[in-house]
Amino acid sequence: MAEPLNTSTGHVPKGEHKGAFPPFQSQTFASQLVWLVIAFVLLYVLMLKVALPRVAKIIENRQKRIDDDIADAGKLKTQSDEAVAAYEKALADARARAQTIANETRESQATAAEARRKTLEGELNAKLAEAEKSITATKTAAMANVRAIAEDATRAIVEQLIGSAPSDKAVADAVADALKR
């Protein structure tokens, strides 16, 4: 505080100022105080009643808006979560149903194929049995022919060897005897 005073005495030419260093001229104090009180009280009232409530309202509104928006966002998120869950459930159901249908189809197809296979097998067996029967018949016929040919041949051989034809009965017995062995 002393320094500015020194500066003032150092730089100010004499007679420039009416009195002391301006901040210490006590005759100005009353005017300054009166106006300071007026200005400060006026500003305080203006701030308290007008300016600050306006700013506070704006900040409060914004905070409220932000809180509301966050709450809305939370609600929407719950909704979307529910939608996702429903979608996944539907997807799982559809998959299960598809699985069931596939299984049923496979089974019915398998049953049909089995039935067709059995029919075919039966037909084939029948044909086989028929063929076997005809083979047996042919064989029997052939065997009968063999006996007749053998009897003829035997008769012819014996006739050639002994000069007289054997009786039919003897030839038949001999052939039957030979065939038995």
Binding site: T7, P13, F40, L43
Partner: protein, 251 residues
């Protein structure tokens, strides 16, 4: 006259208002700048908040910033209960900041460069603390001077120091602001005076050499802008700290 660094602090009576006894009450240049500050602050906040938009304009953003800056300071220093003094601290901060900033404009007057103004503000804070503290806590307010856990034999000394520091608060509170504003403005004016002095005495060379003090003024103006803000902030935060003592006197 132009180079006199003290002239800028002169109080000029613009017109007289009243006369009480031998004391003349006048409308002065100081009063004009005080009222200018009041109008400027009110206009800043009212025009800034006129649109009340959700997404603020620049001016609204600045108004909200000043509000939240001071509110944050008060809440951080004096707690939630201190918010009842928020309008007071806000008024102090904005008033001091605005008159400091206006004072940086050439040819203006700096209201806070007068000790009577800063002293009046500091005493207002001091009395607010004292009266609120006594009203709120009664005689328990004086616990402020009796720290807990101090050995009984040095307690008288501690209490003496605490009382002394409490009483000297308004002095340091007011002189800090006053001296900062006064010294800063004198320095600016002295450097500005050098330019005129050099130009006047050395002619062309002097005017060329005047670049140096001019550069100094540019740098000092930046510094003084910082000081203008910082002193307003310091005044406000000290007010909060003192108010915190009134609200919570138990150390």
């Amino acid at each position: 006259m132009a180079t006199d660094p003290i002239h800028q602090f002169q109080i000029v009576n613009l017109f007289p208002i009243a006369k009480i006894g031998n004391t003349e009450i006048a409308f002065t240049n100081s009063a004009a700048f005080m009222l200018t500050a009041v109008v400027a602050i009110t206009a800043f906040l009212v025009i800034g908040t006129a649109r009340r938009s959700l997404v603020p304009s620049r001016l609204q953003s600045a108004a909200e910033l000043s509000y939240e800056f001071v509110a944050g300071t008060v809440r951080g220093t004096a707690g939630a209960e201190g918010m009842k003094f928020f309008p007071f601290v806000f008024t102090l901060f904005m008033f001091i900041l605005t008159v400091n900033m206006i004072g940086l404009i050439p040819y203006t007057f700096t209201v806070t460069s007068h000790i009577i103004v800063t002293a009046a503000l500091a005493i207002t804070v001091f009395l607010t603390v004292l009266i609120y503290g006594l009203w709120r806590h009664g005689l328990h307010f004086f616990n402020l001077f009796v720290p807990k856990g101090v050995p009984i034999y040095i307690l008288p000394l501690i209490v003496f120091i605490e009382v002394l520091s409490f009483i000297s608060r308004p002095i340091s509170h007011s002189v800090r602001l006053f001296a900062n504003m006064l010294a800063g403005h004198i320095t600016l004016k002295v450097f500005a005076g050098f330019i005129v002095l050099m130009g006047g005495s050395l002619g062309a060379i002097g005017w060329a050499g005047g670049v140096l003090p001019f550069a100094m003024i540019v740098i000092l103006t930046a510094l003084e802008t910082l000081v203008a803000f910082l002193q307003a902030y310091v005044f406000a935060i000290l007010t909060c700290i003192y108010l915190n003592d009134a609200i919570h006197p138990g150390h």
